[in-house]
Amino acid sequence: MKSLHFSVINEAYPGEKFRNLFGKNWPAYRAWYLDEGEAIRPSYLDCIQAFKHHMPELYPLYRDIVKLVDGDDLQARFLTLYCPPPFFSGCSQLTSNTQTPILIRNYDFPPILCEGVVSCSQWLGKKVVAMADCVWGALDGMNESGLAVSIAYGGRLVKGEGFGVTIVIRYILETCATVEEAIAVFQRIPIHLDYNIALIDASGHQVTVYIAPDREVVVTQEQASTNHQDPIVPGQALFLADTGIRLDALNHLVLMDRDPTQDISSRFLYPPLYRPHANHNSGTLYTAVYYPSQGQIRYLWPTAQININFMDLSAATEQEITIFYDN
């Protein structure tokens, strides 16, 4: 039976806990980073120049992190997430402001490739809760201003020169307060693959942003996205065959959401949104529910949940849970 251990870690600034996480995850990331050979990854100089240029506010933190983990050339290059090897995941995500602003998403991936770490931090002043990726990047998350964001791979298999999206999500969570600010970041920073981004802020402003290395950023009022960007053409192969089915299910949920008696987040725990590991290589690993105006976060599984409240982030927030996935 597949399983994944989730831990909520609370550390205001990178320290002992961060170093341990990096040490634990580095061997796997190293193998991934060197997947296509070392020469194909940009040099340290290229990495830090791109990083300094595009995310200057984050650069001092980057320097501290590299120092903290005593990072060598390869580790320092990896940590910039500049032009990393491709990574693809399946996801479903939905934003709604009908009742109260909410962002719900399923993250679908092989359990062995997920860190399972919810990181609670205050690195640049803002409190941020995020599902970690590449140790300091984020798959989804929310900050104390109430900006919530999550990503779904866009499925077009195009590749360009830019950053791994998860470090840009981190940058947005650290430096932005509103959807408008976040959109400006996507318009400014190059990202190396195509993604569908769900964004909502405390005021209820919600958008889905489509980004791709070969296209202009497209900002839409759509509330739901899965793993495709273009209209589905019958007979044409998709990155994930069920992306259309899941999008239909999400759009149905959007309609249901007008009924105040419905809790739509629980629908993410059932197919077709929930992708059982028995049928899918990338099964659903967790459901994240962000409530921007209330400062609340829930991580859901069919048999468990974790609740986090921005009001009382403390050492007591830390918890651990092992999730067993169906075979």
Binding site: L34, G37, E38, S43, D46, G71, D72, D73, Q75, A76
Partner: protein
């Protein structure tokens, strides 16, 4: 206090050649009379200048060999090399670590890798406070390209070398021949800037210019070994036609000759010429490549008199011509001595620091008190100087014999090195075996002909393969006879060094990285 202020101002304004007014506006509107611009006059000034030099100078290359020992003359000189030949025993070397496997396709790629590495970038940061004019220091290397220049610029480093574009231009054998002709420097009878699409066409061209039927044909770029073709018959043409047709050619009359090399430095005061060297090439004990370069020697008896003086004059004229084109600093001039009639000719120019540089610097510093490369550096430092070229060059007119041998791996077998001789001074014993007598970071401790300095390139845990530069041996005395035979002592040293290596055969599963041809030439 005022003097100190003036000094600081001078540092800030950096006084370029074009700045001819002696007054500088201060922020408060006042002016201060400036002292005359500093000009180094003669060797004592130059020694002092480099002894006190604070501007970091980085030599970035696969090994430190080409300018080994210069750190003793130049304060703030730092080697950044791929190979750790000294096992951490050299206080001026940084070896940025490759934390995975990688196949470098050329020396330029390796240099660019080293420059962009975190350890180098960190080192530059650490030294940044030493710089006076806002730059992070100077960059010296053997092989580089325009990408290197870009990286250097983004690091804030100034190239202590002529521009890559100019070097590339001069490197063309066609351009070299034209420049030499303009400077009155003779090449072996030739015609150039021509094309030939068939053997008949080639012969017709040769006949018209009285070059005979025994020809040497060169294409503009590349190592002479790969772009020089000896054509005596139609069969020779057919064998090489693919690489010749369509190219712009230099066609030469074949002459029986002795090849040699001399390193020189083109400066604003004229061209300084180092001692003449002969090439050591093609010995199967040292290289698997037919005609491949495997070292040089320097000895005072080489080409005394007219031939010697003529070559020196040719090199000077060539250097001055290069300087006119904008080229500055070190270059290496390959000469040919026609053994039939004693004529001397230009072979080709290598517009860079080269494999001839180590012996040149060894002799010019040991016997003449100033390594030639110092004048190359001087040309790229932000200081004016005035030197009497003749006077300085005279200093190395009397010197001893020295030899460098580059030991390549001559077996076509990939093995892991389990033991390698270490860098330092080795001594030859009566029984023909050698003994490690002391650690040394250069050859200055080599005392007599029973001593040699060995600098290891590949060490324990690395792989040997056909053509790998395993190490370099520097010894006083000659290793090659006038008739171009290896002397018995050369055989003794080569065998003895080779005996110091131990290898482990590879399991079938092990897939070591074997460098591409382009990077096999490390020096």
């Amino acid at each position: 206090m005022l003097r100190r202020l003036i000094t600081i101002l001078k540092k800030q304004f950096g006084f370029s050649d074009h700045q001819d007014n002696n007054k500088t506006e201060l922020n408060n509107g006042g002016t201060i009379e400036m002292q005359d611009k500093i000009k180094l006059k003669g060797l004592s000034d130059i020694y002092r200048f480099f002894r006190k030099n604070q501007t970091p100078i980085y030599f970035v290359s696969p090994t430190a060999y080409n300018v080994l020992g210069i750190g003793q003359w130049v304060q703030s000189f730092q080697y950044v090399t791929f190979f750790d030949s000294f096992d951490g025993g050299h206080f001026r070397i940084v070896n940025p670590k490759l934390n995975s496997e990688r196949e470098f396709q050329s020396m330029e790629e390796m240099v660019n890798y080293l420059l962009s590495h975190k350890e180098t970038v960190d080192l530059l940061e650490e030294n940044a406070h030493k710089c006076e004019n806002g730059s992070k220091g100077k960059l010296l290397t053997v092989m580089f390209d325009e990408k290197t220049e870009e990286i250097a610029a983004s690091l804030g480093l100034e190239m202590a070398l002529p521009p890559a574009k100019l070097r590339q231009h001069i490197d063309s054998k066609i351009v070299t021949t034209q420049l030499a002709n303009d400077a009155g420097v003779p090449s072996a009878p030739n015609l150039f800037d021509v094309k030939a699409s068939s053997y008949e066409e080639l012969c017709a061209l040769a006949e018209k210019h009285h070059l005979g039927r025994n020809l040497v044909v060169q294409t503009p770029y590349g190592d002479s070994g790969k772009t020089t073709f000896f054509i005596r018959s139609e069969a020779d043409w057919d064998k090489n036609a693919k690489k010749i047709v369509g190219e712009t050619l230099k066609i030469m009359k074949y002459i029986n000759h002795i090849p040699g090399t001399v390193e020189a430095v083109a400066t604003r005061c004229g061209t300084l010429v180092g001692p003449l060297q002969t090439d050591i090439t093609g010995y199967e004990e040292l290289t698997p490549y037919k005609g491949g370069w495997c070292g040089n020697d320097i000895f005072p008896e080489l080409l005394k008199g007219k031939q010697h003086d003529k070559i020196i004059a040719m090199v000077k004229a060539m250097g001055d011509k290069l300087y006119e084109t904008g080229y500055r600093g070190a270059f290496c001039f390959d000469y040919l001595v026609d053994t039939d009639d004693g004529e001397v000719y230009l072979g080709e120019i290598n517009p860079r620091i080269s494999g001839a540089s180590p012996l040149t610097n060894l002799v010019t510093s040991k016997y003449g008190g100033a390594p030639l490369i110092l004048f190359h550096l001087l040309e790229f430092m932000d200081v004016d100087f005035e030197i009497d070229i003749e006077e300085i060059q005279k200093r190395w007119s009397d010197y001893g014999s020295w030899t460098q041998l580059v030991l390549k791996h001559t077996q076509d077998k990939v093995r892991m090195i389990s033991k390698a001789p270490q860098s330092g001074i080795w001594q030859m014993k009566d029984d023909g075996d050698i003994e490690f007598i002391r650690h040394s970071i250069d050859w200055s401790n080599v005392g007599d002909e029973n001593n040699a300095f060995y600098m290891r390139v590949y060490g324990e845990g690395e792989y040997s393969y056909l053509g790998a530069d395993m190490g370099i041996l520097v010894s006083c005395g000659r290793m090659q006879s006038d008739d171009r035979e290896l002397l018995p002592r050369a055989h003794s040293w080569i065998n003895a060094i080779n005996r110091q290596f131990e290898f482990k055969n590879l399991e079938d599963l092990e897939q070591p990285y074997i460098p591409d041809q382009g990077v096999r030439k490390m020096l």
